[in-house]
């Protein structure tokens, strides 16, 4: 009896372990038609917008800080302008992404390193600009979860998973398939922007951003 129970647990463990190890690409996917492609872009604002977010940053070890984030976007030109402000309104960081390059207008320590600028603008791009290329895969899993996947430079991969009812996730994977960014988007959408966003970064630095939309304008 005890032996059978032990075997059951082993089988259960094996089952859970196996399920956890199945790469997402291997899940049964009902491939979408070209008509389904717009779904892959629905979570990104389509036209110009400006937004204000309340941002809580949590670093490894639980140290946290509250900031205001102001972003203006021009998706058709792939332009972004982002500011980080203290609650008092002092600008800590001000940078633009245009023509694929980052122009830092202002950066106050400890936000003044090139790595910070690159990381922040990379996160903002992942959040608000749809990948440029056509997805390599898009469709629906058996449980109705919609999936869009883009192959990026250097073996990186961007994936969107979710549904209008359940909310959406954006995953960024490195060339080993490991998730380096996981973003949760929850509605309702205002001017094409999610009301609540949570970004979890694991590499190269681990941190979490919880963003609440305060203002959105076209």
């Amino acid at each position: 009896m005890i032996r059978e129970k032990g075997l059951d647990i082993c089988l259960l463990g094996l089952l859970i372990f196996s399920t956890g190890c199945v790469p997402m690409a291997e899940k049964v996917l009902s491939h979408g038609s070209p008509d389904d492609l717009p779904t892959c872009y629905a979570i990104f604002p389509a036209g110009p917008w400006a937004s204000v977010h309340r941002i809580e940053v949590t670093l490894r070890g639980g140290v946290s800080s509250s900031l205001l984030g102001v972003t203006k976007g021009e998706p058709s030109e792939r332009r972004l302008h982002s500011l980080l402000l203290t609650p008092e309104g002092f600008i800590l960081f001000d940078a633009e992404l245009r023509e694929g390059g980052i122009v830092v207008r202002k950066a106050v320590a400890p936000f003044d390193s090139p790595a910070f600028a690159s990381g922040l603008m990379g996160d903002v791009t992942l959040l608000f600009l749809a990948p440029q290329a056509r997805p390599s895969i898009w469709g629906k899993e058996a449980d109705g979860t919609r999936i869009c996947r883009w192959e990026g430079p250097g073996g990186t991969r961007t994936e969107i998973r979710g549904s209008p009812n359940e909310g959406w996730r954006i995953l960024r994977r490195d060339d080993q398939g490991e998730v380096t960014r996981e973003i949760f988007l929850n509605g309702p959408l205002v001017q094409g922007l999610a009301s609540y966003i949570e970004l979890r970064a694991s590499r190269p630095a681990a941190y979490k951003l919880r963003m609440t939309l305060l203002q959105a304008a076209p």
Binding site: R54, S64, V70, K72, E88, F90, A217
Partner: protein, 203 residues
Amino acid sequence: MVRFLFLSVLIGTGLFSAGAGLSQDWASLKEAFRNIRSVKAEFLQKRTLPILTEPLLSAGRFFFSASGSLRWEYLSPLRSVMLQKGDTIQIYHFSEGVWKQEMTQAVEARRMVLAEISQWLQGRFDESKAFRHLYSPGPPARVILDPGEGINKFIHRIEIVLSARPGVIDRVEIEEPGGSRTSIEFRNVEINSSLPSGIFEKP
């Protein structure tokens, strides 16, 4: 550093103007400033940024004691508070139903500026190396602050508009390079009233 200079200007000049009649000269204003024991007020802050069509609005309040304590608090859209009591400074933000202490770097930056604030709170406002002051009797009476070399990269001009009610300031206007601007309007200003116990110690 600059954000705290800005705060210093705000608090320092607020106290400076408090208790002063509009017809008073600069020396009288300084004397009135020295008679301040406490100030508490609410404020509405409008932050105008060139990339936003609508200003960013924040509401808050502050408490000051001439014994060397300050509580500067934002109630919305972000709840945060800076507490100074003597040499101790603590900064918190409110999240998930609890107050959380801010990152160390921010605390250190505020500590630097509080040295500047304390100068002004001891009646040495015109000893500031950061700003040149100009008093205009009005009406409305105004104090204009022109930044010196270095700080003018961040702040072009500060203007404090005094209320017709003696001892009260109506608003502060701060102009920055690039078209950014901050306006802070004060409401319900109380001078030398009693302050709640523990207001400078706990968020």
